[in-house]
């Protein structure tokens, strides 16, 4: 099998880069299992797969960041060994990572210069940067400090930095995860243009609509193995999802008939200076979440969502008591445990290190948020049986898969840990739940379980506030959606009126008051 496939590779039209039977082993875990992949010129191939399917590992091998345990790479038919990213760049491979590596306090040009070999003067680099940005329609001011830029602009720096090396192959890892729909549209225009110049763009994503719209071929990975190669345009989103997950995904079912009741969470004119100098100031944020409904807060990351979450959870106190009201009682000056005792629960965005102590057991992590408002602590002593029981209940209700009864949090996969973190709070039947990015980096199966649980919780009369960058997610579960931009929160839109176009405009900072019919320009968003 192995030999046949590696010989067949060279018989077709010449691929730019071939991965031949690439394997990567981490201890007992096989992240890549004999993966073959040919990338041809003038194409936008997609690499599809759930979190943990091995996409990142494979592209890191292709970019020379990690060495494969087996198999080889061929660049234009020649076998190559990439001992580092600089060798990959030398061949003509560029990469834009999901997490940017930029120095916030340096300017755009300084950041770009740091990544280039020191053979060119700084002035020349600045000029070339401005020129590249202009040619590709990626507006950037070389003299601006990075911390002043939006996430979309930061991504432009990374793309321009890669383009300045004139790559033949450009690898993009989840590029639209941080963009508004409109920004994503602009990115696609740039990518089409790069393709027309004869460059190959390897596009990594789990957003199926995007892949269908942009990509010519799609290679699907599952659990480290290549399971299919197809033309995504001839597939449906559902069929692609089936290949990715290997099973049908349950659709979220609306909760049984229930009525929206009184406001249970009230944010009233909350203004808050940021802790950290690069943080976002909250400006007169007001919102009402009623029992029985899910309110979504959309927005591009870094527009004040983290600050709002900290203010809601009580990790940061508000300027005045009445800024936050939980079930009719002023809570702005109460700490996180006092708010938990009032029946509120919180799920932060970051699972490891914020929602969980990574190197502690699940039972200890149950105690982390449960010690204030449940029977887990008596007279200062921990009731270990109660904490374990909470883990068992969460495991059962949310199908948390783990190797043993009470493992360390860090040993769980992202999806299973997220099910635990969300389940840990929901099982306490909170009257108010604030959850940030509930399905960030989570596989489709786990995401469906979590969304269903949120819908069901609201159905039982709780007020649920979901902060999410994923518009599809909000469209699926939220009753009303507000948008956060530069620390301000728009008035919430009823879900039926919250079109992608409208939300996109708000996410980009359009005046929240002026959303009339004429403003709703048509954007070509795949449906």
């Amino acid at each position: 099998m192995l030999d046949a496939s590696s010989q067949a590779g060279s018989s077709l039209s010449a691929p730019l880069l071939s991965a031949v039977s690439i394997s990567k082993r981490y201890g007992d875990f096989l992240a890549n299992d004999c993966i073959d992949l040919d990338l041809f010129p003038d194409e936008i191939p997609a690499l599809l797969g759930e979190n943990g399917a091995g996409k990142s590992t494979l592209v890191k091998v292709m970019y020379g960041l990690i060495q494969p345990s087996g198999g080889e790479l061929r660049w234009m038919g020649e076998k190559v060994v990439l001992s580092g990213p600089s060798e990959a760049r030398g061949l003509g491979i560029g990469m834009v990572f999901q997490h940017f590596s930029l120095f916030e306090n340096l300017t755009v040009a300084e950041n770009v210069a740091l990544g280039l070999p020191p053979t060119e003067s700084f002035a020349a680099i600045s000029a070339r940067l401005a020129e590249t940005a202009r040619v590709y329609g990626l507006p950037l001011d070389p003299k601006r400090e990075v911390w002043r830029l939006s996430v979309g602009e930061r991504q432009r720096i990374e793309i321009v930095r890669a383009l300045m090396q004139n790559p033949k192959l450009l690898i993009l890892d989840e590029p639209t995860a941080v963009l508004t729909p409109q920004e994503a549209d602009q990115l696609f225009i740039v990518l089409e243009r790069l393709k027309s110049e004869g460059r190959t763009i390897l596009y990594i994503s789990h957003k199926l609509e995007e892949v269908k719209r942009l990509c010519d071929t799609a290679t699907i990975l599952r659990l480290g193995k290549k399971v299919a190669t197809c033309n995504p345009r001839q597939e449906t989103a559902a069929s692609l999802a089936r290949m990715m997950v290997g099973a049908e995904i349950d659709e979220v079912k609306a909760a049984a008939k229930h009525s929206v009741t009184v406001p249970r969470l009230l944010i009233h004119k909350l203004s808050l200076e940021p802790d950290d100098p690069h943080g976002t100031r909250l400006k007169e944020v007001s919102l009402e979440v009623r029992g029985g409904e899910i309110v979504g807060i959309a927005g591009v990351a870094g527009n004040g969502q983290d600050e709002l979450f900290a203010a809601l959870s009580g990790e940061r106190l508000s300027p005045s008591d009445g800024n936050i009201v939980i079930d009719g009682r002023a809570a702005g000056l109460l700490n996180v445990n006092d708010r938990r005792r009032m029946g509120a629960a919180f799920v932060p965005e970051e699972r490891l290190g914020h929602g969980c102590a990574p190197r502690m057991k699940l039972s200890e992590n149950a105690l982390l948020t449960g010690h204030a408002a449940s029977g887990m602590v008596k007279r200062g002593f921990i009731n270990k049986l109660a904490t374990l029981a909470h883990v068992d209940r969460t495991t059962k209700s949310f199908d948390v898969r783990k190797a043993k009864r009470d493992p360390e949090a860090v040993s769980l996969s992202g999806g299973n840990l997220q099910k635990f973190v969300v389940g840990r709070e929901i099982l306490r039947e909170p009257g108010v739940l604030v959850v940030s990015q509930p399905t960030w980096g989570v596989d489709a199966g786990a995401a469906a379980v979590i969304r269903q649980a949120l819908v069901d919780l609201a159905g039982r009369g709780s007020a649920v506030l979901v902060i999410s960058q994923d518009l599809d997610e909000l469209a699926e579960i939220a009753d009303r959606i507000a948008v956060m931009f530069h620390g301000k929160l728009s008035a919430p839109l009823e879900a039926a009126q919250a079109t992608r176009e409208r939300l996109g405009l708000l996410m980009g900072g359009a005046d929240p008051g002026a959303h009339n019919g004429e403003q709703e320009a048509k954007y070509a968003v795949g449906a």
């Binding site: 201890g27 060994v81 102590a357 502690m360």
Partner: protein, 364 residues
């Protein structure tokens, strides 16, 4: 060939226990080489250092006496270190406790006021150590000063302060101008456990109680959980509603109190008076004990006994092998080095890679 450190999926419980043992073995091997270079018989040296003291009942008691302050201080330090709070100044808190407790002993010297003197001295010692430890803690919480530096520097302040007292106001009038207080009265001294045989004293019992209380605190209580979470994941601790600043004050106060208590026990016990040499570096050696014992109270008890063994062994080696006492300090330094190095094996494992560039399949 290439050695690679690879992250383990979970902390290895086996290595967590084995790592100090590996470190001890490596230290002994290094030590043997050192002796061989010095022209001494390494096997005999190891026997003198580690075996001989265990065969002598008097030496066994001496080991326990030596371990008493080490373990008591190290237990307190472990509470700090688990929470990522770095009290390096236990030596100063030890002296502060010794001085505060001694104040009462000096004031009541020769008056025969009653049996309350010793308990009051112990309380004063603990209180003095705690208050002295709170200085760096307050500086950190309210002014952002690094507690590592301030607590360390306060050691020298305490040392010189004590020096002044025993050379000045507290000096024994009948002491032939030696810098020392008068010998403490029996009412101000800690009784030995076995009358007339050896120096094992009641302070060792207090150390055992401290070990047990710390074990319960860390393993069973919400406060112990707080200490562990603040150290392991500060942001999660904040999300859990724990106040990191309050914990700095708490752990410093507890570790200072234990160091101060150890100080007054040492002075009122084996030494019997206050003089500039009361500590011989217990506060610093206890740092090694804390890490060697895996920051676990029971582990610290074992580690403290082991380090005490090297002190006693070092003393006899000084006599029987004519080697300098400083060699014991070298031994302890090497030991700490190996302990910290072996700790990485808990989270990482070593894998041997064959050459990366070697072709996988030479011929198909």
């Amino acid at each position: 060939m290439q050695l690679v450190l690879e992250r383990r999926p979970e902390r290895s419980a086996v290595i967590a226990v084995a790592s100090p043992l590996i470190a001890v073995v490596l230290t002994i091997i290094t030590f043997a080489i050192l002796f061989a270079i010095m022209g001494k018989n390494p096997v005999y040296a190891i026997w003198v250092y580690f075996i001989e003291p265990l065969t002598d009942p008097f030496a066994l008691q001496e080991i326990a006496v030596k371990a008493t302050p080490l373990v008591m201080i190290a237990v307190g330090l472990a509470l700090c270190y688990i929470a990522n709070i770095w009290n390096i100044g236990a030596e100063g808190q030890f002296i502060a406790g010794a001085v505060c407790g001694s104040w009462l002993a000096v004031r009541t010297n020769g008056t025969d006021v009653g049996h309350w003197v010793l308990p009051a001295m112990l309380v004063l010692g603990a209180l003095g150590g705690a208050l002295y430890a709170l200085i760096p803690a307050i500086c950190r919480v309210y002014f952002g000063a690094s507690e590592i530096l301030t607590s360390l520097m306060l050691v020298y302040v305490a040392n010189l302060g004590m020096d002044y007292l025993v050379r000045g106001p507290w000096r024994d009038p009948q002491g032939l101008n030696f810098p020392t207080t008068a010998a403490f009265d029996p009412a101000a001294s800690i009784p030995t456990l076995f009358e007339g045989v050896g120096r094992l004293h009641a302070g060792s019992v207090l150390t055992l109680i401290a070990v047990m209380l710390a074990a319960v605190l860390l393993g069973q209580t919400i406060r112990g959980f707080e200490i562990r979470v603040v150290g392991a994941a500060p942001r999660a601790a904040r999300f859990s509603g724990f106040n990191a600043d309050r914990l700095v004050l708490f752990t410093f106060a507890i570790s200072g109190a234990l160091a101060g208590l150890a100080g007054i026990i040492e002075v009122a016990g084996p030494i019997g008076h206050l003089d500039p040499g009361v500590s011989s570096g217990y506060g610093f050696t206890a740092i090694i004990v804390a890490f060697l014992g895996r920051l676990n109270p029971v582990g610290i008890l074992v580690a403290g006994l082991f380090l005490a063994l090297t002190f006693i062994g070092g003393e006899s080696a000084q006599i029987s092998m004519k080697v300098p006492l400083d060699l014991t300090k070298v031994f302890q330094g090497i030991l700490l080095f190996y302990v910290l190095a072996c700790d990485s094996l808990i989270v990482y494992r070593i894998r041997v890679l064959r050459s990366v560039r070697k072709p996988a399949h030479a011929a198909a």
